[in-house]
Amino acid sequence: MEAPEEQEQSLFEAPPLAEQERMVEAILFASSDPVSLRELIGRLPHGSDPKAAIELVQKRYEGRGVVLRKIGDAWAFRTAGDLGFLMQKETVETRKLSRAAIETLAIIAYHQPVTRAEIEEIRGVSVSRGTVDQLIELEWIRFGRRKMTPGRPVTYVVTPSFLDHFGLESARDLPGLKELRAAGLLENRPLPGAMTLEDSEEDDVVDNEDQTELFED
């Protein structure tokens, strides 16, 4: 049935146009690339009229969920433009925030407004850009005022949507170290850190003042 026997084939009449239309439909459907007119001529039975068949297909699919598109001098089926939204499947995945992100977020919440350098000092490790970006993307932190220190570094503060997510009315509601300890969230470790402990509690107080400023308006 293939190429060389064209003479033989021409002894038979070309299939009816409706049949040619089916053939074009199938070829265009199965082909992995748009199919040119020339290719169609090569693949349809001898004597076929692919142009007419394509027109029929095009008409048949008009307004359907799938339409025939001309791409260059070739044709291909495409899903209708208005249905593109169906070709997306949204999957929601819940992931636990990384430890670095949680710690950074916690520092911002307790110390806001706080600069990146300050966060790094408190955590003792550098803060990756990705961590901050992620928290900003989550809309849990945002940029605060620049600090009036050399270099005027930007600061970070938590957002209302942070408060919303964590069920807090204000950042002041975050428990202090004493309360954390009372709640058993802090292991009671002896002496060496005692000094820093007090410091940090002081920090907290300072913080809260700043926070007040930030959230009350």
Partner: protein, 267 residues
Amino acid sequence: MAEEEFEEDTLSVSDRMAAEALIIDVDGYEGPLDLLLTLSRTQKVDLRKISILQLARQYLAFVEKARVLRLELAADYLVMAAWLAFLKSRLLLPPDPEEEGPSGEELAAHLAFQLERLQAMRDAAAKLMARDRLGRDVFARGQSEEVARVRKVTYSATLLDLMQGYARIRTRDEFRPFVMDRDAVYTMENALERMRGLIGFAGEWTDISSYLPDGWSDDPAKRRSATAATFAATLELVKNGQVEIRQSETFAPIQLRKRIEGHDGSA
């Protein structure tokens, strides 16, 4: 008898070729059941009406011929031959009322069933393979449009996570990770370091116990640790080709000395 059987069946060229193929190409058969099925075709009857007795004879003749031609037959062909010989005798001899077990007819019926079932599966397989098959006769969309998976990741963290995270940072300074008390532990690293400084002087065979550090030989726990570390360090030095060790008998003192170039160790 074997010859006779085959002569009988050589009525057509294809049958003859089939018979020859059996001899030459035993490997081409998928086991004795397949061979039996092939042989049964020469009977040209419905498998249900096949003469198992005749089939048994043909099979045995085949096995005999293979033996004459010194063809190696796989064990399962021989097992089948033995079974068919048994079946043949059962079919030919009048049933013995004393004998337990299934009759020759029952066994023959079962073999016929097996053959018919195998044939049926072959026919079914052929029908299956002849169906319009995806990628050969029937085609899927050539340009499938991938469904874009819009993965929306939501991150979760609880207030507890947050507070614990904060607590973790603020108390890190107070935190001393648990470490084993190592007062009485002399490590291999210690021993290695000590010995590296000493082996330069070990021209003669010396007991390794003399390499124990000062103050580690009185307390038994300390001595044990130091001995083990020193021994391990010695092995390490042997491995590096720096020293040689020897021991004259079990539990005898282990001795070591500096390895001298071009001088193979006696151990």
